[in-house]
């Protein structure tokens, strides 16, 4: 009896050892952030404090928007469920510190990709999910129809600690106009100040202007001027130093865009497994072993498409159908006259 028990223990121990060795070998490929994420059971995602179309919470706390969808895609890829995301609403001022200090693992918060941010402060931009540019909003009654009509003494409201603050200076400087910058930490405070007449113009990314206009007391009394004064490529950001995690986030975004290119939608993703096109088959996990490179299974991309949808679906659901920016402009696929062009997933 005692002997059998001993043998049994021995056997169990060796199985356990073998198993742990096995998982150990797998884990070697996994990133630290991925391991931590899977252990916690949710993706920690930094979003805005409320920008309709990009990241906005409804009354019951459900987050929607294209920035939110990116985080959901990462959750679908790494945890198998797009719902397993914990959102951290951050001000422009807090966002980078939250990421570098490890409070969040993905920052998907309409953040402009610039050289100094990418190179200087321990961040890595993984791609662009919205091509934007800075514009100005004014009251229709002011009669201003172009940025060239601004006069010295104009007061401009915007967000603190943004590229907008810098572009605004470049712009007014190049025109030789003395202006009064009024900067708030929260977008809602900027909108309120502009609405109360504290400022003559409200300047931020054009998508932001379109989205925030809804919050004004009389949205139709305001217009966005046609000029665009800067390039604002907005995209997700990760911490520097975890190359595999960086790849996971980058390719979660790329998969969404490429899925649209090949016509794969959340509705038809499963049936696409029997497609003749190898590129399509790779995207839905029916061919190749793309997930293995990240330490993920082979259905990671299929889950993104099924649970979140492709980029076009996300855009339509969040930005076009809500009336914010019905026209996709540059955020159209390269095959349809836009500039969305991602490397092939193979």
């Amino acid at each position: 009896m005692l002997k059998t028990l001993k043998t049994l223990t021995y056997l169990l121990t060796s199985i356990a050892l073998l198993l742990s060795f096995e998982t150990g070998a797998m884990a070697a490929k996994k990133s630290k952030t991925l391991k931590k994420t899977q252990k916690m059971g949710f993706v920690r995602c930094g979003v805005s404090q409320g920008l309709p179309g990009f990241s906005n919470a409804d009354a019951s706390g459900n987050w929607t928007g294209v920035d939110v969808d990116l985080c959901r895609a990462v959750a679908a890829a790494t945890l198998g469920d797009s719902g397993k995301v914990k959102f951290f609403p951050l001000s422009a001022k807090e966002r980078f510190t939250a990421l570098t200090s490890g409070e969040i693992d993905v920052l998907s918060r309409n953040t402009t990709w610039t050289l100094s941010r990418d190179a200087d402060i321990g961040l890595t931009f993984v791609g662009v999910n919205f091509y934007d540019g800075q514009g100005f909003m004014v009251r229709k009654s002011s009669g201003i129809t172009s940025v060239n009509q601004f006069k010295a003494g104009v007061s401009a409201c915007t967000n603190l600690g943004t590229t907008t603050e810098l572009n605004m200076r470049d712009f007014f400087n190049s025109k030789g106009i003395k202006y009064e910058p009024v900067t708030f930490e929260k977008a809602d405070e900027v909108v309120a100040a502009y609405d109360a007449g504290r400022c003559d113009t409200y300047t931020t990314d054009k998508s932001g202007l379109a989205a925030q206009r809804i919050k004004l007391s009389k949205p139709n009394d305001h217009i966005v001027l046609p000029e665009t004064i800067s390039k604002e490529p907005l995209g997700p950001v990760v911490r520097q130093g975890d190359a595999v995690w960086e790849d996971i986030v980058r390719w979660s975004l790329n998969v969404m865009i490429e899925a649209e290119e090949y016509g794969i939608t959340s509705a038809n993703a499963d049936s696409m497994k029997s497609s003749d096109n190898p590129a399509v088959k790779r995207l839905v996990g029916a061919e190749g072993e793309l997930g293995a490179a990240f330490g993920l299974d082979n259905d990671w991309s299929l889950r993104i498409i099924k649970q979140v949808g492709n980029y076009g679906e996300s855009y339509k659901r969040n930005i076009a159908d809500t009336g914010i920016l019905p026209d996709r402009g540059p955020n159209q696929l390269w095959t349809k006259g836009g500039i969305l062009y991602v490397p092939p997933a193979r």
């Binding site: 422009a92 001022k93 980078f96 510190t97 570098t100 100094s116 941010r117 200087d120 402060i121 321990g122 961040l123 004014v138 009251r139 009654s141 002011s142 009669g143 201003i144 009509q149 601004f150 006069k151 003494g153 104009v154 007061s155 603190l160 600690g161 943004t162 603050e165 810098l166 605004m168 200076r169 470049d170 400087n173 202006y179 009064e180 910058p181 009024v182 900067t183 708030f184 930490e185 405070e189 309120a192 100040a193 109360a196 007449g197 504290r198 003559d200 911490r239 520097q240 130093g241």
Partner: protein, 383 residues
């Protein structure tokens, strides 16, 4: 020997502990920053800041360095603190004395003021003044003038601006007046002590302060022009007042909130100080025939001040530190400009936060030193 070791060991252990804690935090920060590819250094201070600030006491724009931006923020913090301290002292002294008034209405109004403003959180009061009171002001074009030449609008408080010529001569004349006042006061005291003769020092002082600068005007050495605010149209429906001086509503709201809030504490200090002087002192002073004014000035106040100054110093320090709430309403103080925008644009969190903390520490210590010096000056000089 044994005794000395006994004394030294706890101190050594404490020192070791402090060094270990600081060392741990430094190494920890260093390791984490290395891991995340963040470098550490103060070199960014000399770089071009490339952002503008709404309101600055010195000449500044985005082509200046981050160090200059820091200075702009610091001066704005000092400005709001100094204004706050002046106003809270004035209001505090008045309300504090009013609380002791024999008049029922005055006494109770003062008491209600203190109880109300002291018990509503400061941030809420700042929000009230900024978002409720000042946001409800009219647009510049609809504003009726206040005191004839100033305009209180939603975009700011526009006041006339003084354009001085040879301003330094005026300053010298005032300095000369002050120096002569000091001499006259000393002489008057001597007269009082030796011959019991009284001189109207206050009248003479005020007179000198007026006459000296007036001479510089009359002789044409100093000239003053006043630029009145003039309504200027920026577009069909947007106006501002140009020419004059514009005080941003953010500054107004902050000074209002800080001084009204801190004044309640100052008022309580003043009340405590006056009540701390025993009643017998007052009665004794009255019995030798001093007037009520003289009693307050010569007997009560010199003794009350000793009780008032130390706790009031705390209130001044609080006010200075509370001024950092400015960031909540877009007043460009040190926290908003330096620990806000500059931090965001450079990403140098540790460097900038450390500088900001050191700055507030230095400011507080400076106020503390000044008040301690004053406290010593008015303390009882034991003979």
């Amino acid at each position: 020997m044994n005794h000395r070791i006994k004394n030294i060991i706890p101190q050594l252990l404490t020192l070791l502990f402090v060094v270990a804690v600081i060392g741990f935090f430094t190494i920890n920060a260093q390791l984490n920053m290395d891991e995340r590819g963040i470098d550490f250094g103060y070199g960014f201070l000399s770089q071009e800041s490339s952002f503008d600030v709404q309101f600055s006491l010195i000449e500044y724009d985005g082509s200046h360095s981050y160090a200059k931006a820091y200075l702009v923020g610091l001066l704005n913090t000092i400005l709001v603190s100094v204004l706050g301290i002046i106003f809270c002292t004035i209001i505090g002294v008045i309300v504090g004395i009013a609380r002791l008034s024999p008049n029922y209405l005055i006494r109770n109004t003062a008491a209600w003021y203190v109880e109300f403003f002291r018990n509503v959180p400061l941030l809420l009061q700042i929000f009230f003044w900024y978002y409720a009171a000042l946001r409800a002001l009219p647009l510049p074009e609809n504003t009726e003038p206040l005191f004839g030449v100033t305009y209180l609008t939603v975009k700011g408080y526009y006041i006339p601006r003084f354009i001085w010529e040879n301003f330094d001569i005026l300053v010298y004349s005032i300095l000369a007046a002050i120096i002569s006042i000091v001499f006259i006061r000393n002489y008057a005291r001597k007269l009082q002590e030796e011959k019991g003769q009284q001189t109207p020092v206050l009248l003479i002082s005020v007179g000198l302060l007026l006459i000296f600068p007036a001479i510089t005007f009359v002789t044409g050495m100093v000239q003053l022009e006043v630029a009145l605010p003039v309504l200027k149209q920026l577009s069909k429906t947007s106006f501002i007042y140009a020419e004059g001086l514009s005080i941003p509503p953010e500054l107004l709201a902050l000074v209002l909130a800080l001084s009204l809030y801190t004044a309640t504490f100052v008022a309580e200090c003043v009340r405590a100080g006056v009540q701390g002087v025993s009643k017998g002192q007052k009665e004794a002073a009255a019995s030798i025939g001093l007037t009520p004014n003289q009693i307050l000035k010569l007997v009560i106040m010199p003794q009350a001040l000793r009780i008032i100054i130390p706790p009031t110093t705390n209130q001044y320090l609080n006010l200075t530190k509370n001024s950092s709430l400015a960031a909540a309403i877009a007043y460009p103080d040190l926290v908003l400009v330096f620990a806000g925008t500059a931090l965001m644009q450079t990403g140098r969190a540790i460097e900038i936060v450390s500088i900001t903390m050191l700055t507030y520490l230095t400011l507080s210590l400076a106020i503390s030193l000044l008040m301690n010096w004053y406290n010593k000056k008015i303390a009882i000089k034991e003979k």
